[in-house]
């Protein structure tokens, strides 16, 4: 769907994007992560052709990105805004027509979406009469009205209460099922794990991590396991090569230990070592959350990972 090749964007003394490349596959939900000021918004603006890169190119659906693609992209910026004094219906018509829809089509689709999200009575209201959450909903509809193939959502859940956030999440998944590719920029890691197939992490103008969510998680596994067991807590202690005990605490009527398997050893070897000594009730590998990975990679910025 989208190939981003060696993008460089320079603002006077500040380099916002430094040789950033990534590939967004068609029909996927792509998470674009990074701390504030990392360059996410600069990249999104380049994809939206709001600004142009100094170097590099973007390929959209096999063609070099050009103005004819504007109607196929829907963009929800992080900083939301609508004309305060303009009626909602009229405003939606205007925005949809700017994206290239005919007036008639725009009207039909706006009605459809307003019914779907229970906003029918809002048509003649002005934006300034709506609550912030309601404005967000209007803006979301404006983003997807023209049935874009690529939807770029910058922090789509900010400003929503949990009920509406769930409604929007459902709509995003629905659009994705309908074939739309989604680029999803956020700090909310739990929604990343829930929604994204693929993520890229940008930090200090550079891409430092990119890959399938499952692959990345696998890559960040560090052979840590939790073991639930009954027996003497003293029996579970560090061994020279086999494993290291990270924690070992009672939990309800059992004991729970976190261990890290030593270099070149397997969990099976650890189990056969432990089986004669304690009664094992449960064993689970600790898989790092995207949140942990985010913090880990951002705080040690010199490393670049590839999955």
């Amino acid at each position: 769907m989208l190939e981003i090749n060696h993008i460089v964007k320079q603002y006077a003394k500040h380099r916002a994007l430094d040789d950033v490349s990534m590939k967004v596959e068609s029909g996927k939900i792509f998470g674009l992560l990074g701390p504030n000021g990392a360059g996410k918004t600069s990249l999104i603006r380049i994809i939206n052709q709001i600004t142009a890169p100094d170097e590099g190119e973007i390929i959209f659906d096999g063609e070099r990105l050009n103005p004819s693609h504007i109607g196929r992209i829907g963009y929800l910026p992080e900083e939301r805004g609508l004309y305060k004094k303009m009626e909602i219906g009229e405003q939606m018509l205007y925005l949809a027509q700017l994206k290239g829809l005919s007036k008639h089509d725009a009207k039909v689709r706006i009605k459809h979406w307003f019914e779907r999200l229970e906003m029918q009575t809002w048509w003649n209201k002005k934006v300034e009469d709506l609550s912030k959450g309601m404005q967000q909903k209007v803006q979301f509809v404006a983003t997807v009205l023209h049935q874009p193939d690529l939807i770029i959502l910058d922090e789509p859940f900010s400003g929503f209460d949990p009920v509406n956030a769930d409604i929007i999440k459902r709509e995003i998944l629905d659009l994705n099922k309908g074939g739309a590719t989604i680029i999803f920029s956020t700090h909310r890691m739990e929604s990343v794990e829930e929604l994204c197939h693929h993520i890229a992490l940008i930090n200090k103008s550079k891409k430092i991590l990119d890959g399938d969510v499952r692959d990345i998680k696998n890559q960040f596994r560090d052979h840590t396991y939790t073991i639930q067991y009954r027996g003497n807590a003293e029996t579970l202690h560090d061994t020279p090569t086999l494993f290291k005990v990270l924690s070992n605490e009672p939990h309800d009527h059992e004991l729970v230990a976190r261990i890290q398997v030593g270099e070149g050893q397997t969990i099976n070897q650890v189990l056969s070592y432990l089986l004669p000594k304690v009664e094992i009730i449960g064993l689970q590998e600790v898989i790092p959350s995207i949140h942990d990975i985010f913090v880990k990679t951002v705080t040690s910025p010199n490393s670049v990972y590839h999955a």
Binding site: P67, G81, L82, K84, Y94, L98
Partner: protein
């Protein structure tokens, strides 16, 4: 192109539909008519108070020659004592009474004294003065043996009826009429450039602070958004002009037809002029001048002037609104615009001030010429010159420069605009704007 049309449509309709637009469109002509009406009504109702002037004429020559007017009655006090009369006047304290003392050597000194309890109106004083002047002059003329009747006959009052020689033949022209028209046009263009230019600026600041600008420029180019706004607001201005012209014509037709029915009003006004006027002969003279002015105003080619006005209004508007757009895009709120406004206002302000001094006096001089060539000043300067006649090559050159100026300004403004609208929380400096200009699109 389709998208820019949508933007123009929104900018235009959202403003024309506003109540404030309708209000100004209908109120401004009413206001003018109303002011006109107030002046007429006031002139009709103001009955000047009757003033009695007690005259003690020590020379004994002038008092009989002072004729009463409709507002002033002269009363000669034979053998009056100056001190007693002064005290009497002070005791009475009447406002509409005064005491005129003519010394015996008045023909030589030409000095008299007028005592009042309050301050006399200028009209009363000047009437007394001119009556005395006439009387003294007549006496002096008679004394030198000249016949007053002969003198009156040979008194000259030249009224210049200037004819302009053009290829089409002679036509009436008058610098009075031309000056009136240029005065009006210069003010009109000066004010409208600022009214509509600052509307463009406010519109852009609104889009920037409400953050809708990012949504819109993901659909259209920043240049399209900027031009759409400028053109849309420009059309609002033209609509307003058109409505003003139509309304003023309609209202003045109604008003003048009412006036002609009410002949009494006309009579009243005429007699007013007679009363206030000093001498009948001078009245005739100024009436003549007035009719000449009226004739030349009618003689001015309004079709030509309005065409030139529209060209310069549009050119000037496009140049200045691009500058205003640039300022609007660079700032976060209206208070930050101050530092950029002065350099924008200066050229127009200077031209505006020069147009009523240097340019009016010398419409073909070098200052007038250069000001009417520079695109930033020509919209006002050329309009001031037009009624005095401008060679065609100058007009053509000025319009070409105006178009080039508009293209150049728009190019610069658009480059700064596209960066500025996405910059928040920075108070920009000129240096910063220069940097933005060099950014790659």
């Amino acid at each position: 192109m389709h998208k820019i049309a949508l933007i123009i449509q929104r900018e235009y309709l959202s403003r024309v539909k506003k109540k404030s637009f309708l209000l100004t469109t209908f109120l401004v002509p009413l206001l003018f008519i109303g002011m006109y009406a107030v002046v007429i009504i006031m002139a009709m109702n103001s009955k000047a108070p009757q003033t009695t002037v007690d005259v003690i004429d020590l020379s004994g020559q002038l008092a009989p020659k002072l004729e009463n007017t409709s507002t002033i009655t002269f009363r000669t006090l034979e053998n009056g004592n100056i001190d007693i009369e002064k005290r009497a006047l002070q005791d009475k304290g009447a406002e509409n009474q005064c005491l005129l003392i003519i010394p015996s050597d008045v023909l030589n000194t030409q000095k008299v004294e007028l005592y009042n309890t309050g301050k006399q109106s200028v009209a009363v004083v000047s009437t007394i003065e001119s009556k005395l002047n006439n009387a003294i002059r007549n006496i002096l003329i008679t004394e030198s043996g000249i016949d007053v009747a002969v003198l009156d006959k040979i008194k000259a009052d030249v009224s210049i009826n200037s004819k302009e020689m053009t290829a089409d033949g002679e036509k009436d022209s008058s610098s009075y009429g031309a000056m009136g028209v240029s005065f009006f046009l210069a003010i009109l263009i000066y004010i409208t450039l600022f009214i509509y230019g600052s509307q463009v600026m406010r519109g852009i600041i609104e889009e920037k602070t409400s953050r809708i600008v990012e949504v819109i420029i993901s659909s259209v180019k920043p240049f399209q958004l900027m031009m759409g706004k400028i053109i849309g607001i420009g059309l609002v201005g033209l609509t307003q002009f058109l409505l003003w012209v139509v309304l003023s014509l309609a209202l003045s037709t109604v008003a003048s037809s009412l006036m002609s029915k009410n002949e009494a009003v006309q009579m009243e006004l005429n007699s007013k002029i007679d009363q206030d006027g000093v001498g009948a002969q001078e009245e005739v003279g100024s009436n003549d001048k007035l009719s000449v002015i009226m004739k030349t105003v009618k003689g001015i080619d309004f079709g030509y002037i309005i065409t030139v006005f529209l060209i310069y209004y549009l050119g000037g508007y496009l140049i200045y609104s691009a500058l205003f757009a640039m300022v609007g895009s660079a700032v976060d709120n209206e208070t930050d615009t101050q530092q950029f406004m002065l350099p924008i206002i200066m050229p127009l302000l200077v031209t505006y001030m020069l147009s009523f001094s240097v340019m009016m006096n010398d419409p073909q001089g070098p200052v007038s010429f250069w000001l009417s060539m520079i695109p930033f000043t020509s919209p006002v300067a050329m309009l001031v010159r037009i009624p005095f006649g401008v060679p065609f090559w100058q007009l053509a050159l000025s319009i070409v420069l105006l178009i080039l100026g508009f293209l150049g300004t728009t190019y610069v403004a658009a480059r700064i605009y596209r960066v500025g609208i996405l910059m928040y929380g920075k108070k920009p400096t000129y240096k910063e704007l220069m940097k933005w200009f060099t950014y790659k699109a």
